[in-house]
């Protein structure tokens, strides 16, 4: 699975996710990536793209949940990401990337690694795999 989330200089958020699914999957299997709210979500507050165990991501409506706790609990972006990874994944393994309309970037995962990279306008840039 691959994904990208962006907030532009006007504060507009967007998210995109694309995948081939699982090796040896049953024909017809649909995962989280195309499901808005599960693997992908964007609103006025943030943009989120998920990866990992699709079935767990669907159960947790992971991407929308990040936006929901920001909207309803007033969490900051990283706080929302940490909460969702810790409390909304039951026994599943997954990761996600997110941006906020304030120009913040965050990521989180509960498995041993996630291929990811992020950058912000103030010069921050990071590419990593492991924790």
């Amino acid at each position: 699975t691959v994904g990208c989330v962006v907030v532009d200089s006007q504060g507009r958020c967007a998210a995109a996710t694309s995948t081939g699914g699982l090796m040896n999957k049953m024909s017809g299997r649909i995962g989280d990536s195309p499901l808005i709210g599960a693997g992908t979500y964007a609103c006025e507050v943030c943009g989120v793209s998920c990866t990992g165990e699709g079935e767990a991501i669907i159960r947790g409506t992971l991407a929308r949940e990040v936006a929901a706790v920001m909207e309803y609990k007033g969490y900051e972006l990283q706080q929302a990401v940490d909460f969702v990874i810790k409390d909304r994944l039951d026994e599943g393994f997954a990761g996600l990337i997110a941006v906020s309309n304030k120009g913040e970037v965050a990521y989180g995962f509960n498995c041993n690694g996630m291929f990811r990279g992020c950058a912000t306008e103030n010069g921050f840039m990071e590419v990593g795999i492991w924790e």
């Binding site: 532009d8 504060g11 996710t17 299997r29 120009g103 498995c111 590419v127």
Partner: protein, 191 residues
């Protein structure tokens, strides 16, 4: 006015024994994608345009599981999925089960912008792709030799599982102390 920001991913759940050169390849591609997105953002491209641009690049490179290099079904075919969402108006588009569309993310955007629907799948998605004139490829374009080998190993190990990439340097049966869904993590990654 806020500052721009961008993040990309190429999958979660990585074999801890992933060879260094494959880690380096992954990091290099992620860096290229970030730079592509940064350049577009500096040129005042919209967030929606940038996420599509970056994911198209990731779909075109066989390194990660999307587009060319997608995981294979049990039948050895490709069934790809993608979605895109514009936060400003909460518009969204998604496709599933596409097997010939070179860049499923762009088809998802067309579903959002050119159809009255949010989600098209299988034959309907393929028909819509033809109507819209998107670039297509034979199913074989998406199937890499690495993935054919991984499917064979997955079948031998009787694993239909959460993720697919078995490092070519290792055997599917190799014991790993790290497990996911009761199975060695080495049969997954990188997802």
């Amino acid at each position: 006015m806020s500052g721009w920001a961008i993040a990309v991913h190429g999958g979660a759940g990585v074999d801890p024994n992933l060879p260094p050169h494959r880690q380096q390849e992954a990091k290099q591609l992620l860096t290229e994608c970030l730079n592509l997105g940064i350049s577009a953002l500096r040129s005042n491209a919209s967030a929606l345009d940038v996420v599509e641009l970056v994911v198209r690049k990731l779909e075109t490179d066989p390194l990660f599981n999307s587009g060319r290099g997608s995981a294979l079904t049990a039948k050895g075919t490709v069934e790809m999925e993608a979605s895109i969402m514009d936060g400003t108006k909460r518009r969204c588009g998604a496709v599933s089960g596409v097997s010939t569309v070179k860049n499923p993310i762009s088809l998802a955007r067309l579903v959002m912008e050119k159809s009255p629907h949010s989600y098209l799948a299988y034959t309907g998605a393929e028909e819509f792709a033809r109507e819209q004139g998107v670039e297509t490829e034979d199913n074989e374009y998406f199937i890499t030799p690495d993935n054919v080998g991984m499917l064979k190993l997955a079948k031998e190990a009787n694993t239909i599982l959460f993720d697919y990439r078995i490092p070519t340097e290792k055997c599917a049966g190799t014991e790993s102390p790290v497990k996911m869904n009761g199975l060695p993590l080495s049969i997954y990654a990188p997802e």
